[in-house]
């Protein structure tokens, strides 16, 4: 053991020598260049070919090239023959012969030029390749110059042994998982060193934050979460069903990976935030700190910053590994034929993208109509007779709210067909200005219900765009399941509006309630591409970070006046309430105890029940009022559905959760700490 220790010390001294660092740096840069230079060369060749194809298709002779491509499945541009799979022609070309999706056409025409050894997704994006080259070089240089060469080599050896054993046992999945775990763990160590360097300034807030980072990376209480995440992430791909369609695999992976990352980070953040403050108060380390010239708010700010920085490190690792695996996953095999091509197309157009959505616009309900309906309802309810014409305003408001809900619901229904003719209703979208002129198809997502119909049966409906019968598309649907329909981009009018008519082919049976199509508010929407997946992924990670930042503040605030277990309990309760805020708000719509004047107060049981129900409702309302915003930001959900996480959302979440909410909880913690006596009466102990 002593011998090994001596060797380790000698090697450690060796790696710190200047000439060793310089030599290693040169070798690393050379190796990185040797790998990335051919990738970049191929990448730029790909880009050059893509430009020439676009110039040809969009140039004066573009129509001729497109016609040839449509008719023969191939075209010669600049002396090179380019072809597309024939079975994809209906998807790539509109009925008038124009190209529907130029980017997809390009990638199909150039797919033969991508060498098998190089990752296709990397070749299609030269700037991304440069980024990866820079990241790889920086990563290796940091290892060298931060004296981590020896740990790096030891990690490589350890991982190599584990991977070798997995290889001998014939488990390919275990090989990748173990290799991934080794890589992620080492990257974590490296990033912790880097942030430690960044936080090493003399500022007190940075000093406190730096110590939190050390605490997190050396204490079991937080390490267990970090190690859990770093071990789970490389294993997630192997829990995917290889037989499932690619889009499902991608969605499942994004959902599990982002979901697990956020869930584990949230738990770690809350536990660490509660522990770092409450343990310091309990173990009296805070005496040593508060007797130094550190303001209490700066102390709390330092704690918060430390936890946020730790989350940045973890999210960076988790984000990069998730992103890289998604890029690999999108290139994996799909079912043969058209089905597989459409599957891949769906991944590209519906998931690995950033789409905005637009909901149907409904005309406001005239107040006169509402007033008259309320009047009728009051008159028709015999219970209101006792008010002798002076019905309390609370009852009138309740009736009006109920009527609004019913009218809204009616507007979202499509009547069943009669006498062989389909029932129909037209919906208007007027927020599609950004989709005007786009080359990518739009997506109509719908989740329809059909009265009390069998939820396993298939029914038929149709869609007509802009009231043009020629655009009609007939589709089969299963009630309660989401379906999508690609809409040609030219369906959007120049003013950014579009109408969609739903045709209900179900014929009403005499005396049957089945037959009326209806949908929830968010279940009929038009989606259109507004950005790329890479940027969207980054923004989603930032929103996650902002949410975790609030949780850090919450945990710290609770720990300023509660012991560790109680502060954890309190913080987790608030976290859960905040997460389910939107569902709670939705549930509250249906959880309305009767008005107080209708309660039979003489019956103690009924009265007690009413008081209990009102208490629950008020608590739920308060929690929704305060915390609903937290749950409204759902970056994982948006990523899975390919929905745009805009910079506005990032900024909004930052202002709301980071500046206002986190600021408020930290100020609350500061007020508590300012008022609280950090020492206790010790006369009875000593």
């Amino acid at each position: 053991m002593t011998g090994l220790l001596r060797i380790h010390r000698a090697l450690d001294r060796f790696q710190r020598k200047l000439w060793v660092k310089i030599t290693a740096s040169i070798l690393f840069v050379a190796a990185s260049t040797a790998f990335f230079a051919p990738v970049l060369y191929t990448s730029y060749t790909y880009s050059s070919n893509a430009r020439s194809i676009v110039s040809a298709l969009a140039g004066p002779e573009g129509d001729r090239f497109i016609r040839t491509l449509r008719e023969t499945g191939s075209v010669t541009i600049d002396g090179t023959k380019r072809s597309i799979p024939e079975e994809l022609a209906p998807v790539l070309f509109a009925e008038d012969g124009s190209l529907v999706d130029l980017p997809l056409t390009l990638s199909l025409m150039l797919q033969d030029t991508i060498p098998t050894w190089a990752p296709g997704w990397l070749l299609q994006q030269p700037p991304t390749t440069w980024v990866f080259f820079c990241v790889a070089v920086c990563w290796l240089l940091f290892i060298t110059w931060m004296n981590l060469l020896l740990p790096f080599l030891l990690t490589c050896m350890g991982t190599g042994v584990a991977v070798g054993l997995a290889w001998l046992s014939g488990s390919r999945d275990a090989m990748f998982a173990l290799g991934g775990i080794g890589l992620l763990l080492f990257t974590f160590v490296l990033l912790i060193r880097i942030v430690s360097l960044l936080l090493s300034g003399p500022d007190q807030v940075l000093a406190v934050a730096h110590t939190v980072i050390k605490e997190a990376s050396r204490s079991r209480i937080s390490l267990i979460f970090i190690l859990l995440l770093l071990a789970i992430l490389p294993m997630l791909p192997f829990w995917l069903d290889p037989e499932a369609p690619l889009r499902h695999r991608v969605q499942t992976f994004i959902s599990r990976s982002s979901g697990a990352t956020f869930a584990i980070c949230a738990c770690m953040t809350l536990v660490l935030a509660c522990a770092t403050v409450s343990f310091e108060i309990r173990d009296r380390q805070i005496w040593q700190i508060m007797t130094k010239p550190v303001g209490k708010f700066r102390y709390l700010l330092g704690k918060w910053l430390g936890i946020v920085v730790l989350n940045v490190v973890i999210l960076a690792i988790a984000g990069v590994s998730t992103f890289l695996y998604i890029q690999y996953l999108r290139t994996t095999s799909v079912a043969p034929g058209l089905q597989g091509d459409l599957d891949r197309l769906a991944v590209q157009e519906e998931i690995l993208t950033a789409r905005k959505k637009d909901l149907p616009n409904y005309d406001p309900i005239p107040q006169e109509l509402l007033d008259s309906l309320v009047e009728d309802a009051v008159a028709n309810d015999p219970q209101n007779a006792r008010y002798a014409g002076n019905v309390p305003s609370t009852i009138l408001t309740g009736i009006e709210r109920q009527l609004r809900r019913e009218i809204d619901f009616t507007r979202r229904t499509v009547p069943p067909g009669t006498d062989g003719e389909p029932g129909m209703r037209t919906f208007f979208f007027d927020g599609l200005q950004e989709a005007v002129g786009t080359s990518s198809p739009l997506t109509l997502r719908y989740r329809l219900m059909l009265g009390d119909a069998d939820e396993t049966a298939t029914y038929t409906c149709g869609f007509v765009f802009n009231e043009d019968p020629a655009t009609m598309q007939v589709r089969e649907y299963v009630p309660t399941l989401s379906h999508v329909l690609l809409v040609p981009p030219d369906a959007v009018r120049p003013d950014g509006t579009m109408s969609v008519t739903i045709l209900n082919f179900y014929q009403r049976a005499p005396g049957s309630a089945i037959g009326r199509i209806y949908f929830e508010e968010d279940d009929f929407e038009v989606l259109y591409k507004a950005g790329g997946f890479e940027g969207n992924f980054l923004r989603a990670m930032l929103v996650m970070l902002v949410k975790l930042g609030f949780l850090a503040g919450l945990g710290i605030c609770c720990a300023t006046f509660l012991s560790f277990p109680v502060s954890c309990l309190c913080a987790f309760t608030i976290f859960m309430a905040a997460t389910i805020g939107p569902y709670l708000a939705w549930s509250l719509e249906y959880y309305v105890p009767v008005e107080a004047n209708r309660v039979e107060w003489s019956n103690i049981g009924v009265a007690m029940q009413w008081i209990f129900e009102m208490g629950i409702r008020q608590i739920a309302r308060a929690s929704v009022f305060i915390l609903e915003g937290f749950g409204r930001y759902r970056p994982t959900n948006d990523l899975v559905n390919g929905l745009m996480v805009s910079w506005g959302t990032v900024l909004g979440s930052f202002l709301r959760l980071s500046l206002i909410w986190s600021g408020l909880v930290l100020v609350l913690g500061w007020l508590v700490l300012r008022r609280r006596q950090l020492a206790i009466y010790s006369g009875g102990q000593s």
Binding site: P202, M290, T291, L678, Y681, S686
Partner: protein
């Protein structure tokens, strides 16, 4: 020199602290209308048995507890003022340090809290670690340290900012005699640099050796206050120390005393070597023989930045005088035996408030020890051993 016009570092007037329970009923009146002031450049002792209000007073001075009533100013400001903390160094009764940090990181962290630049932090950290003899374990987590080693880091952190005002709560608790002696040397060095020190201890010999003034607390109230000399001087006794005498010579001296003064010799005995000196000799010998240890190694002198700087010739002189005078006290040829008012009172306090814990036994055992054995040594050894037992069950 300190004059009466110099504003005090700490000023307490009618200072009171009452602890209440959840129902706002009085649980304890820990400090009760206490008046005192600590002047710049002095070492001020806070004495008293357990539960007398020493720690509560210190915690109020540090802003860790809020006073119930009265006035308390530190550097002329409220104790909660953050700006005054940069002048203060604090060593609590126990060293409350992060177990996951090593000594280097710990001192660097506290240096950063004081806003020290990197170069200053580095040099001071190295000097302090050398001073407390922990350079060789600078990279080991503090969680693996013994209590004494942790205590040394605690002392180092209290000095990282070269404080104007140093508050030491039981500074020698958990330290071996080498550490105890070093703390005393350190205090004298700091005193020579006109630093102000508040020393709280129930090890009376420590206080006696270094303090200028002191107060004794009991039941949260001040029982006695004054300079060490004023409080300890016993004008009714005279001690003459000479080389060993024959029995006949002693009889003749007694005759003379009877004739001249009308008094008899109360006690004749041979002085014994101080246990502290014996201990230090043994350790020094072991070090010369290079016996291996994983604990504290040869401790350095007081850190350079804490020592008297060049140009302070006058202070240097004072230090050298202090260095000579202080150890000589035990070997003076003629000295006034210390006694009485303070000792009597302490004994009475101990009698009045017997403590169920072991520390009370330490105090009550004092009269049984030989008079010529250093009291602080016994206290240290007993206290250290008991605390070590507690630390490592």
């Amino acid at each position: 020199m300190v004059t009466n016009t110099t504003p005090p570092i700490v000023e307490a007037v009618g200072l009171t602290k009452v602890f209440k329970d959840f129902w706002m009923r009085t649980k304890a009146r820990a400090v009760d209308h206490v008046d005192f002031e600590i002047r710049p450049g002095e070492i001020f002792g806070l004495l008293g048995p357990n539960g007398s209000g020493k720690s509560t007073t210190i915690k109020m001075i540090l802003g860790l507890l809020h006073k119930t009533s009265g006035r308390l100013a530190v550097f002329g400001k409220a104790p909660s003022e953050v700006s005054i903390k940069k002048h203060i160094g604090f060593l609590p009764e126990e060293s409350y340090l992060y177990r996951f940090l090593n000594p280097l990181e710990t001192l660097d962290y506290y240096g950063r809290l004081f806003g020290l630049d990197r170069a200053t932090r580095k040099s001071r950290t190295e000097e302090l670690l050398e001073m407390v003899g922990l350079t060789h374990v600078a990279h080991r987590p503090i969680g693996e340290f013994s209590k004494g080693m942790t205590r040394r880091i605690g002392i180092a952190q209290a000095l990282i900012n070269d404080p104007e005002f140093l508050i030491l709560d039981e500074p020698t608790s958990g330290l071996d005699p080498i550490g105890t002696k070093q703390v005393k040397d350190l205090l004298l060095n700091l005193k020579a640099r006109r630093k102000t020190i508040l020393l709280s201890s129930h090890l009376l010999a420590d206080v006696q050796d270094v303090c200028d003034r002191m107060v004794m607390l009991y039941g949260g109230m001040i029982r006695v206050e004054g300079t060490v000399d004023d409080l300890l001087e016993d004008t009714n006794r005279t001690v003459i120390q000479v080389p060993r005498l024959k029995p006949g010579t002693i009889q003749r001296i007694e005759q003379v005393l009877q004739e001249e003064e009308g008094v008899a010799i109360e006690r004749v005995s041979q002085p014994r070597q101080r246990l502290e000196d014996l201990f230090l000799d043994i350790v020094e010998t072991a070090r010369r023989e290079q016996v291996e240890t994983s604990g504290v190694t040869d401790t350095g002198h007081t850190a350079e930045f804490l020592r008297v700087q060049e140009g302070d010739e006058l202070i240097d002189t004072l230090v050298s005088e202090a260095d000579v005078v202080e150890p000589a006290r035990a070997h003076e040829v003629v000295e006034e035996p210390e006694s009485s008012e303070a000792d009597d009172m302490l004994e009475s306090l101990v009698d009045v408030a017997p403590e169920p814990v072991s520390k009370a036994t330490e105090v009550t055992s004092v009269p049984d020890t030989p008079e010529d054995v250093d009291q602080s040594m016994i206290d240290d050894l007993l206290g250290g051993e008991q605390q070590d037992n507690k630390q490592d069950p």
